[in-house]
């Protein structure tokens, strides 16, 4: 048998039929949220179809849900259309069924990509899909996980399968060791800065190397989460002790009598030594600095020691045009040192960086300090109800509140600003989210992507600052 990559193993073990390179692959876990599912449920209803296997579905409400005013219940959702969407998910799950459902305000509610892993609903070896591009997050478990459109959400519900062509494989190897204050987020941004936002298009990326092996599961989730920002639908990390230890004891993890067999199988979910990749990219972790984006695409990124680049030095006309447009939108001058850029708001949250380790890291920077006078709002939005409860048990909420941050209820919040949390036009934000596109956090809003530590430090300083030398 020829040597296989992790991606080969995951893909090949789910092929139901294959013809001329187009395969039908079986889907083990279908995560569902309120925004990309209503049209799919409606499609089932119109065709008189039922879910093929409702026990594959795990659902929650996250994109639209408010992060305050929960004491008013559904009436706390100011926007009537948002409320309809959240209520529609309730009624659809009631009608069609699910393995588990964490509705608005349930203690298990959260961002779908935080909730899945913490419930043990994401397991090694699974195929995981969701109508959300950041489904790549779940690849951290040695799973094949990627985002799909709503037509495919309906297709998976109806048939338990997806029509897929196998992607090419890319190994992104990060050697060496990360310095103090350098996080999985910085690794993700450094990779995107190197290969570009289309660098992974057509590929499934496996992240490997000593830096990746040393990351916690939460760090690996942050990294795989941003595979899509490098253009790859799926990112993944091979299974090791960290994976297995994380899964053990979670509510939907294998039962005791299944555990040993599951672990024995999961141990095989690594690329064979002789496996060949279609592309290999290598970075040295020792060289990675805390990263800050300066433009309107995640590839527009530099180290905190860097400066805003000058379009005049770019020879490619399309790239130069993009840079000029980005600087104009961002209200930045070329050659400005990153650590001199003042901010108006801070957002700590999103499926990239809202887990307990992220909150601990940000709190450790904010502890005993106050946010700067020019910072109008600093939001901390935990990724799920369980993360929130854990953080409160550790007193992190108090640290944030004492420093002047607002401590909110879980949800996607200002990552995409579908709810009431958003930037006003011209406001500049240090954000732990994943996209700095024009208007992403609000019309005219200016987003700089950073790690939780860097966001907290920026909140205190009022401008970007190197967290490694910040105290």
């Amino acid at each position: 048998m020829s040597a296989k990559t992790l991606y080969d193993k995951l893909f090949d073990s789910h092929v139901v039929t294959e013809e001329n390179g187009t395969a039908l692959i079986y889907i083990d876990r279908h995560l569902v949220h309120e925004v990309t599912s209503p049209q799919a449920f409606e499609g089932l209803r119109l065709a008189g179809r039922k879910p093929w296997r409702k026990d594959s579905i795990v659902a929650t409400a996250d994109h639209n849900t408010p992060t305050n005013g929960w004491e008013k219940g559904l009436d706390g959702i100011a926007d009537p259309i948002s409320r309809i969407q959240i209520e529609t998910l309730d009624s659809n799950i009631k009608e069609f069924g699910a393995k588990a459902y964490f509705p608005f305000m349930d203690k298990g509610q959260g961002i779908v990509h935080v909730m899945g892993p913490e419930q043990g609903a994401t397991l090694p070896g699974m195929t995981v899909v969701c109508g959300d591009s950041h489904t790549s997050t779940h690849g951290a478990f040695g799973a094949l996980a990627h985002g799909i459109g709503t037509s495919e959400v309906e297709h998976v519900m109806a048939t338990q399968c997806l029509v897929q062509k196998k992607s090419k494989s890319m190994l992104v190897r990060v050697d060496g060791k990360l310095g103090k204050g350098v996080t999985a987020k910085d690794v993700a941004l450094a990779i995107i800065g190197k290969i570009g936002t289309a660098g992974g298009t057509g590929y499934a990326i496996e992240f490997g190397g000593s830096v990746i092996r040393a990351l916690t599961m939460e760090g690996r989730m942050t990294l795989c989460n941003m595979a899509i920002e490098a253009g790859a639908r799926a990112g993944m990390v091979a299974v090791d002790d960290a994976t297995i230890n994380y899964v053990k004891g979670r509510p939907y993890a294998p039962k005791v009598d299944q555990w040993d067999a599951a672990v024995a199988y999961w141990r095989t979910l690594v690329s064979d030594d002789a496996a060949e990749f279609d592309a290999i990219v290598v970075l040295n972790g020792d060289d990675i600095q805390p990263q800050v984006t300066w433009g309107t695409s995640p590839e527009m990124v530099v180290g905190i020691d860097g400066i805003v680049p000058d379009p005049a030095s770019e020879s490619d006309a399309t790239k130069k045009g993009s840079m000029e447009r980005a600087l104009q939108y961002m209200g930045l001058q070329a050659n400005t040192p990153m650590n001199e850029i003042n901010i108006d708001k801070v957002f700590i949250g999103s499926c990239t960086n809202s887990r307990i380790e992220d909150l601990r890291a940000a709190a450790s920077v904010a502890k005993g300090k106050k946010i700067a006078g020019n910072v109008k709002l600093a939001l901390v939005v935990p990724g799920s109800g369980l993360v929130k409860a854990q953080a409160e048990a550790e007193g992190l909420d108090q640290i944030f509140k004492d420093a002047g941050f607002e401590w909110r209820e879980p949800g996607c919040s200002m990552c995409l600003a579908m709810n009431a949390d958003r930037l006003e036009s011209g406001e500049r934000c240090a954000s732990t989210s994943n996209r700095n596109f024009e208007g992403r956090q609000g019309l005219g809003g200016r987003t700089h992507l950073v790690s939780p530590e860097m966001a907290a430090a920026a909140a205190i300083a009022g401008h970007f600052v190197d967290v490694r030398s910040f105290n």
Partner: protein, 212 residues
């Protein structure tokens, strides 16, 4: 799904790289629970000078005269000419829904983001990859000549320009078959339901914990 066979369509050039799906259809419009009616809000933040919200009367909003879609010569366009990495970002199928509802049936670019590319085929739209040089040529010709139309033939996998230049393009055989015949994926997959059941039974024996 509507079939796509052939189109002779007016071309509009959108000269930006990395156009993301947030730009194609901003988040406030994703609150709809329907899959139609997104066309008036396609490229909302670039197309209008005010902030758009669902339920607004778009015909009364002030449009941005500098945005290419608003120029008189491009009204009625059904072919969108774009740059690298078109459709990156969010997986929202609302993006192809909005473009289709606006009137686009074909998008031509040097590269597309994977999820967006896939979503187009589910909605009777044809995304075509041409080389960056060929796309550049089409940009120049479109801008130079008012009323510039391209003739796109899916079964021949060809684009013919007004000057008679022929561009061949690749398309996956299965997707082509579905698009030419307007076939619904679900119906096709259900033809394999015995194979799916057989796979599932085997999978359950091998990894019973997936079926707890």
């Amino acid at each position: 799904m509507q079939a796509f066979t052939q189109l002779n369509g007016l071309v509009v050039p959108l000269d930006r790289a990395n156009v993301d799906t947030d730009a194609i259809i901003p988040k406030q419009f994703l609150k709809s629970i329907k899959r139609s009616g997104f066309g008036p809000n396609a490229f909302d933040e670039w197309r209008y000078l005010d902030h758009g919200e669902p339920g607004m009367d778009n015909s009364k909003r002030q449009t941005n005269p500098d945005f290419v879609l608003n120029q008189a010569r491009y009204q009625g366009a059904s072919v969108l000419l774009a740059r690298e990495n078109f459709g990156c970002g969010s997986s929202r199928e609302h993006a192809p829904w909005a473009l289709e509802d606006y009137g686009f049936r074909v998008i031509i670019a040097p590269s597309f983001a994977d999820i967006f590319f896939n979503n187009c085929f589910k909605n009777g739209m044809l995304p075509i990859v041409l080389s960056a040089d060929d796309v550049d040529t089409l940009f120049k010709e479109t801008e130079a000549s008012e009323g510039y139309k391209l003739n796109i033939d899916l079964s021949e996998q060809s684009i013919t320009s007004p000057s008679g230049n022929l561009y061949k393009f690749e398309v996956d055989a299965f997707r082509k078959h579905c698009l030419l015949n307007g076939l619904d994926d679900i119906g096709l997959t259900m033809q394999h339901q015995d194979a799916i059941k057989a796979f599932e039974a085997k999978h359950k024996v091998a990894q019973p914990w997936l079926f707890n």
